[in-house]
Symmetry: C4
Subunit: 350 residues, 4 copies
Amino acid sequence: MAEAFADYEQLAVLPAAVRDFVAGGSGAELTLDRNRAALDALTVTPRVLAGVESPDTTCTILGTPASYPIAVAPMAYQRLFHPEGELLLAAAAAKAGIPYVISTLSSVPLEKIAAVAPSWFQLYWLRDRSMVRSLIDRATESGCGALMVTVDVPVMGRRLRDVRNSFALPAEVVAANLVDKYTEAHSAAHGVSAVAAHTALAFDPTFSWRDLEWIRSMTEIPLAVKGILDSRDARAAVDAGADSVVVSNHGGRQFDGAPASIDALGSVIDALGNDYPVLLDSGIRGGTDVLKALALGADAVLVGRPLLWALAAGAPDEALTLLGRELRDAMLLAGCADLAAVAELVTGRN
Amino acid sequence: MAEAFADYEQLAVLPAAVRDFVAGGSGAELTLDRNRAALDALTVTPRVLAGVESPDTTCTILGTPASYPIAVAPMAYQRLFHPEGELLLAAAAAKAGIPYVISTLSSVPLEKIAAVAPSWFQLYWLRDRSMVRSLIDRATESGCGALMVTVDVPVMGRRLRDVRNSFALPAEVVAANLVDKYTEAHSAAHGVSAVAAHTALAFDPTFSWRDLEWIRSMTEIPLAVKGILDSRDARAAVDAGADSVVVSNHGGRQFDGAPASIDALGSVIDALGNDYPVLLDSGIRGGTDVLKALALGADAVLVGRPLLWALAAGAPDEALTLLGRELRDAMLLAGCADLAAVAELVTGRN
Amino acid sequence: MAEAFADYEQLAVLPAAVRDFVAGGSGAELTLDRNRAALDALTVTPRVLAGVESPDTTCTILGTPASYPIAVAPMAYQRLFHPEGELLLAAAAAKAGIPYVISTLSSVPLEKIAAVAPSWFQLYWLRDRSMVRSLIDRATESGCGALMVTVDVPVMGRRLRDVRNSFALPAEVVAANLVDKYTEAHSAAHGVSAVAAHTALAFDPTFSWRDLEWIRSMTEIPLAVKGILDSRDARAAVDAGADSVVVSNHGGRQFDGAPASIDALGSVIDALGNDYPVLLDSGIRGGTDVLKALALGADAVLVGRPLLWALAAGAPDEALTLLGRELRDAMLLAGCADLAAVAELVTGRN
Amino acid sequence: MAEAFADYEQLAVLPAAVRDFVAGGSGAELTLDRNRAALDALTVTPRVLAGVESPDTTCTILGTPASYPIAVAPMAYQRLFHPEGELLLAAAAAKAGIPYVISTLSSVPLEKIAAVAPSWFQLYWLRDRSMVRSLIDRATESGCGALMVTVDVPVMGRRLRDVRNSFALPAEVVAANLVDKYTEAHSAAHGVSAVAAHTALAFDPTFSWRDLEWIRSMTEIPLAVKGILDSRDARAAVDAGADSVVVSNHGGRQFDGAPASIDALGSVIDALGNDYPVLLDSGIRGGTDVLKALALGADAVLVGRPLLWALAAGAPDEALTLLGRELRDAMLLAGCADLAAVAELVTGRN
């Protein structure tokens, strides 16, 4: 049905407020727009005569073998988009051979999701520390291959679309991993969306480097720190025992003033060196974007919003097939036999 | 009512000519537009895991303790926007814990304003020198904590909106601090607005560095020089005894060709060193803008137009609460426990 | 009537084809647009506390004393815009105290124009060499204070608006200085405007540096070379005996691919040093633009199109008064007591 | 009829799908747009007083004498635009004195085209190697003056307009040089255009540097490698025995992320030195564009799309006359007596 991976945004049929919840960013949405503008302005100089019919896109990300250097980004409440929610998208990821990152705020219990796909678990730092511990234990026991700790949500960025829409989750969509006392917050109050109200109650803004070290001590599986833009923080994450960082501005949904993730990538890689795995998200909308991030030195990318659109269109499978095809095509057209060749491409601006 | 501090521009109900009087700039409004474009293009790289729930926004500006590094910019004739005018906005500032800068052209006598809020007094250089002296004395006696001398209005910039609207003040709005012989100028003539006509009669364009030294000798309270963009002038202001400079292009209302204030800030700070307090105005529309100015090295900002919109909407209190909240949110999201941390953030462009 | 010098474009009532003849540029009009974009993007950092009420705008340009560093650019066929044509505009220049540059293609004989204003004469290089000699002699004898040789019209740039409008001069508007055999070309043919057809017949594209030396030898009055953008040509003009160069892309009407005049100015000044007088035209639309050119090092500017609009509006007098006022205002607001101070201003881009 | 070479796009009357087939690019068409934006932003500083009436545009390209440094780009299926197709366009090239590049996918047999114009032959790397050999032999025997091997089409770029239009060739338009078994692919399937389907079957994506060496060994005529953007590939092409490279992103139709050809030109020339002939295509729409490419160091350009529009308008002759005139005009206005002078012009950006 879709001719390009980016088409699903048009194909998804959704209530306006749910559409806004996905599409929107925080504040004036400057960072949201910047993510796309920076990717569009980035050029990659293709090579020729690589002599390859079928580029090798396989890789290992955080210890997980993958068909593509792509993982499904952690995203909350996927039952907003399809009755099966996370299960349908995770199954598509499994079929495509890429990791699925389960959100702390998934609307299906993590164990059920981990059963259908090679998964990682995304962790928010909750005020209820026993719940944090429990989530780590449950993720490890369910066979999650990595723990991805989100560090850029001390509080939720002010997403004005949601505030203006008085956005609230429908009753049947809940944070299935959490049994918390904040369910009363699941309706919108004036000046704050219900999701933001819940977050404010549940999340602990005092999350610190010491807490990260504590998390590190809680599990043996690979640990990625998601939401890094400053190279000093990248170094600190490594010092705290992280195995990887995800360069991310949370898709323009947190600090509205942040640089585009793709523009922050270089300084992080410079600080960490080439041997340390660096992932990126925010703004990836197709195979060429994936290739651009890899050409700048990322080891893999997380893809978010377009997969929610595809989920709403009932076609996450088709979408991931299309994305994989777009990446292979981009590699072929850029003369790259494998991902190592992508990293050797010359990049520029405009 | 408002969901963002910038929203008051839409919420204010005002006659078109008054709206233009506030919103407009001089000439082709290139500098007016540049102020916003430069702030929007500025990026600040957030930090993570600061471990702070409630950032400390307190500071001392020009000797005045403040809850935020923000002061209400000096703005003329606030009874245009609300019957109580300056008194209502000053009370909101007092409640918010930030300094209110009384304009020479306030439409309520300065003593009354100083009685309701911790105030500074803004001074224009008038042809009638005895009136200048009297204003300084009155400001000091009323307890104003600082004197802010405006140096970028030798004449008023040509604000074409006002000229085209033949803008004149209503009879009940007057320059309450001045008892002058220029009241006949309070109606518009062809090719000049009434406000500009009055300014041309009352202000002395020969204002010089020697005059500034004379002002310095007239009072012991802190002296800030407002309207500096060139680093040579910043040095000269210090040499003339100023305690602070305000980097400002008068909100794009004076020389239409000036750089954005935010783009001029760096060279001024470079010239003065980090120990000298530097303020900034022109274009600040929300908490993220405040943080951007501070990240570039400003010690505080003045906020103008949005507070007139809020005054017209009858909600200056709510507006300042929202602005404070936006700054705290921005600091939290940027991982800053206090203002010193903001000054350590990395900045960029686009 | 007009509130800004740039307003006359709206105030002029003209047939569409005449309007296009003035407003248009060559080719895709990239250079035309670039002239304005570059001036708008240029910033000048104002100074303060200059202590001056009335800036001194007087200067001497090419030996001619002038009230402002401005001359009326040479422009053809001014009777298209007003029955009195050149005489009315020249009288306005005389009244304003600035030089008027008579075009080779003026629609009133040069002697009559020189009688009403301090004038310079603009020379095209014609195939009929005796006519060139005669024009130089007539200009000198009429008391023209300088000779301005246009070097950027070996052929006329292809102005597509004129071609598409089959633009032709009305019968009563002729090149009054020329008695030539090309009058039959004064009607449009397919694919070429009548003006271009006439130019192709009358002008000599083989114009060379040796010819310029010959011109230099023909007269003692100051010689300016108009249409220089490359610094190597600026040096060559000086070597050929020119007293001044005019940095110009002919208002975007010749080579459509040229840089903005204002962007070419710096390299020309660098090549010639500060002691050599450099003029500029192309894109000047108000007093702030004049100040910008001077801040970049120009000694004076030529102003063209806006004065034709003002002529069509019957108000060249008022227009020059307004332009002078805008320049004085800009100097006051930029803290400049005189033109030397303008040259010390800091410039930037956006 | 047309007043500018770029006008033919408006003058061509074509079915929407055929128009899209020509106008479109791959993916999001970022590279397509970038080609034009980069040429428009490029400035060339004109010289003056060159003393030349008629610039010398003659040159020798790949051993072929030419009236202009221009060749007709290889373009498939020209009978889509005119019943005579390639024959009419080639005849126009012959008349204009410029080389015509016959496409592997021409809709008229190459021998017939080579009979009407000085031609070069463009070669795709086909899975059927005997057909490749046969094409090289036929081209050489027909007197083609050069072989231009396209290296940037391992697979066809995904041209979404064609996919969305289910674009297929009409029955009477075929790849006349090929007698292949893939004619069944000449109708569109879901998600792929018929042209792309055919290409996928016929072209060999494993095309490598060794294959290029083999091609080199097959013929003595000059060999140009078309589709180079990376300077390392330019060096490799020379090492493989190529006589020239064509800097090209295939008009924005292959890798959508590539830099503008004009922006890639400099690094290729730097790598090869000035003595090695470098051609350029992608985005050339008029004589000024040709001059810009030459000013940056290209030896000649290929012109594509505008000639298909002109062919559809039945006026390729007139179009090439106009293009030649535009180049001569541009050289005159830029003060260039010959192509060597063009190469000495100063270039800039915006």
